[in-house]
Point group: C2
Chain length 206, copies 2
Amino acid sequence: MLTLYDYLDSGNGYKVRLLLALLGRDYRLVALDIDKGETRTAEFLAKNPNGRVPALELEDGTVLPESNAILYYLAQGSPYWPSDALDQAQVLRWMFFEQYSHEPNVATPRYWLRHGLATEARKPQLEEKQAQGRAALQVVEDHLASREFMVAGRYTIADIALYAYTHVADQGGIPLKPYPAIAAWLERVRAQPGHIAMDAVADTPV
Amino acid sequence: MLTLYDYLDSGNGYKVRLLLALLGRDYRLVALDIDKGETRTAEFLAKNPNGRVPALELEDGTVLPESNAILYYLAQGSPYWPSDALDQAQVLRWMFFEQYSHEPNVATPRYWLRHGLATEARKPQLEEKQAQGRAALQVVEDHLASREFMVAGRYTIADIALYAYTHVADQGGIPLKPYPAIAAWLERVRAQPGHIAMDAVADTPV
């Protein structure tokens, strides 16, 4: 059985849990607490030397880190990964955009605000990140203004990757009100058969 | 013919130029100057709304941004993209690692130092990034200590993605001396048939 090492408030982890639910795949969940240093133990660093969750352990013991690489692996042969090479590249284009331009500016403010790290000294950096987060959301908004989903007219792992932290952007001080196309897309994502919420916990946590 | 919108000092652009050279593909190069705002013009934003280079324009006018998504697209059917699904996922794992943990901490200090942006006010942020850059390089060092290349025992786009900014890390104040496995791997990458240097300019710049 697959084992997912995860932190339950992580949007990156939620991406994987969401796809596993959509695919109806069983897995064992090992919940680690970032605040308690549980992703920096020697045991976990042996699994992912970069000390980050999520990381997916396969039946043979191979460990695959990086949420979007995990999505790629799990989505092979499913409707969530398109068959056309250019569509595939556009899916990855939005997943790299998510990790470079979106996540560090939308997820990090949320993490700082929820973990008491938004100190006075960090305020300029927080505000710079929030501004860049709004810029990233505007790129997504403009793209979705004329589209139902990010790529190929249907729900793919590009949508899953971007949904994870976009739908909780307000928790990082970035309200979604200025982005009506994003709001409509969030509803389309939530309406997908098999959708689960970010705080839905698996049946068999360890 | 393919058109590559690029900034010639960009490691992200170099990734694409390197793969195009390895593949022996002809292309038209449009060199844009970031410092002059040439990636923020209405004309370029119509091609890549995120206002970043590189971006690859295909024969039919489709534009594909994000260096690592471009590598994926160009490498299909070539020896630089493995055929096994798990190897593919591990290639992407290192490419996402590159964009999230490596590039912002290895490339950004280099950019700041080369463009007069390493101000006194930015010094703490610069030093934090350099520390995180060293941590990212240590992860690569440990991985390469027992391997010739990043994934599947051979040269793939994971190596190309990581080579681009690693080999000029010292220009961002991160000397490579503490990383002997990386140094040996840099030599193996340079020894690949068709390799070009970062400052090799295409024959037909516009």
